[in-house]
């Protein structure tokens, strides 16, 4: 079963505030994507979070822990559902302004990765992450890869939706 936090303290409060703030931002920003695109961006980031965290934070690698327990807690699920997914959406939202030329999009990816590493450092201080054989420098590389994958995924979804035949017509 999903576990409750061992102690409701600073890391849970930090994640709740960040999750609430990011979700609010997603809701108040003017709509730029269709609902299908939005759902797919959310699903893709949920998938990435679940897979990447399980591979590198779970046994046997166990490079870091999230929240109070190495086990899967309800707050881990909250992070997957509200923090990672909203961050992915907001990243793609911003990307639409910097998609061309290539050097602008590259600078955008690097800037957002750096900003996310900054946020991760704050989260680390709030005991959201406990590193074992992980370092924040690895996170920078991971974020650049993850954000780049997000861009290609978004381009693929846009391409497929533009060329899709409407079902039942």
């Amino acid at each position: 079963m999903l576990l409750l936090p061992k102690k409701f303290d600073e890391n849970e409060i930090f994640i709740l505030i960040i999750g609430f703030f990011l979700t609010l931002l997603v809701l108040i920003l003017p709509r730029k994507f269709s609902l299908t695109e939005t759902v797919l961006i959310f699903l893709f980031n949920f998938y990435l979070a679940a897979v990447v965290d399980h591979i590198i934070a779970g046994p046997p690698l166990n490079l870091y822990d999230i929240m109070d327990d190495p086990k899967f807690e309800i707050m881990d699920l909250f992070m997957y559902l509200f923090v990672y997914t909203s961050s992915g959406y907001l990243f793609i939202y911003g990307y639409t302004y910097f998609s061309r030329p290539w050097y602008k999009s590259t600078a955008y990816v690097l800037a957002v990765a750096l900003f996310t590493v900054g946020l991760e450092w704050i989260a680390h201080n709030f005991l959201v992450f406990k590193y074992f054989e992980w370092s924040i420098y690895f996170s920078m590389i991971a974020y650049v890869i993850l954000f780049t994958v997000n861009i290609y995924f978004f381009k693929l979804v846009r391409h497929l939706l533009r060329n899709a035949h409407v079902p039942g017509q």
Binding site: M1, L2, L3, S34, L35, T36, V39, L40, L43, F44, F46, Y47, A50, V51, H54, I55, G58, P59, P60, L61, P70, K71, F72, L77, L156, V157, L160, L161, A164, H165, V166, P167, G168, Q169
Partner: protein, 159 residues
């Protein structure tokens, strides 16, 4: 274990190849959506079973993790997309659909037994009944979420 990994890679490539056939039958955007839903659900479900309940532990051997991840990222999700394909076909009777769903859940359970046989996973209280319960939970969650995704996409595409 190396032999098992080689076989599993071969099966995974075959299953990925079947997606080329499915691409003609299911819209690619739905294929992506269904894949993401099923892979995420399997990852979360097995995370709860292996880490929280600790009734099915992954081997700490070098090849343990890639074998388990091949199952969760390729084998289970593609089998689930095939299940979706058969359940949506109108020329298949309800009883046949029931047996196809039963076959799918038996395959999900059989893969865990195979993993135990090749020492990729270690059972610590896991048995077939639990496997069928997991498969049922997966089936209900997957069908519900993929139906919601399908409805959103179709509604928007028709506008």
């Amino acid at each position: 274990m190396a032999f098992y990994l080689a076989v599993k890679i071969f099966i995974s490539i075959l299953l990925l190849g079947t997606l080329l056939f499915l691409k003609k039958k299911i819209y690619p955007i739905e294929l992506i959506g269904s894949y993401l839903i099923s892979a995420s659900l399997f990852e979360i479900l097995y995370n709860i079973i292996s880490v929280n309940s600790a009734i099915l532990k992954t081997s700490s051997a070098k090849l343990g993790l890639p074998l388990i991840q091949l199952d969760r990222l390729v084998v289970y999700p593609i089998l689930t997309i095939w299940l979706l394909y058969f359940l949506r076909r109108q020329n298949i009777k309800y009883l046949q659909k029931y047996f196809i769903a039963l076959l799918w859940s038996s395959m999900v359970v059989a893969i865990v037994f195979l993993n135990q046989h090749f020492e990729v996973a270690e059972s610590q209280g896991w048995y077939a009944f639990i496997g069928y319960v997991e498969a049922f939970v997966m089936f209900v969650s997957f069908m519900g979420l993929s139906y919601i995704f399908h409805s959103i996409w179709v509604k928007e595409a028709r506008q």
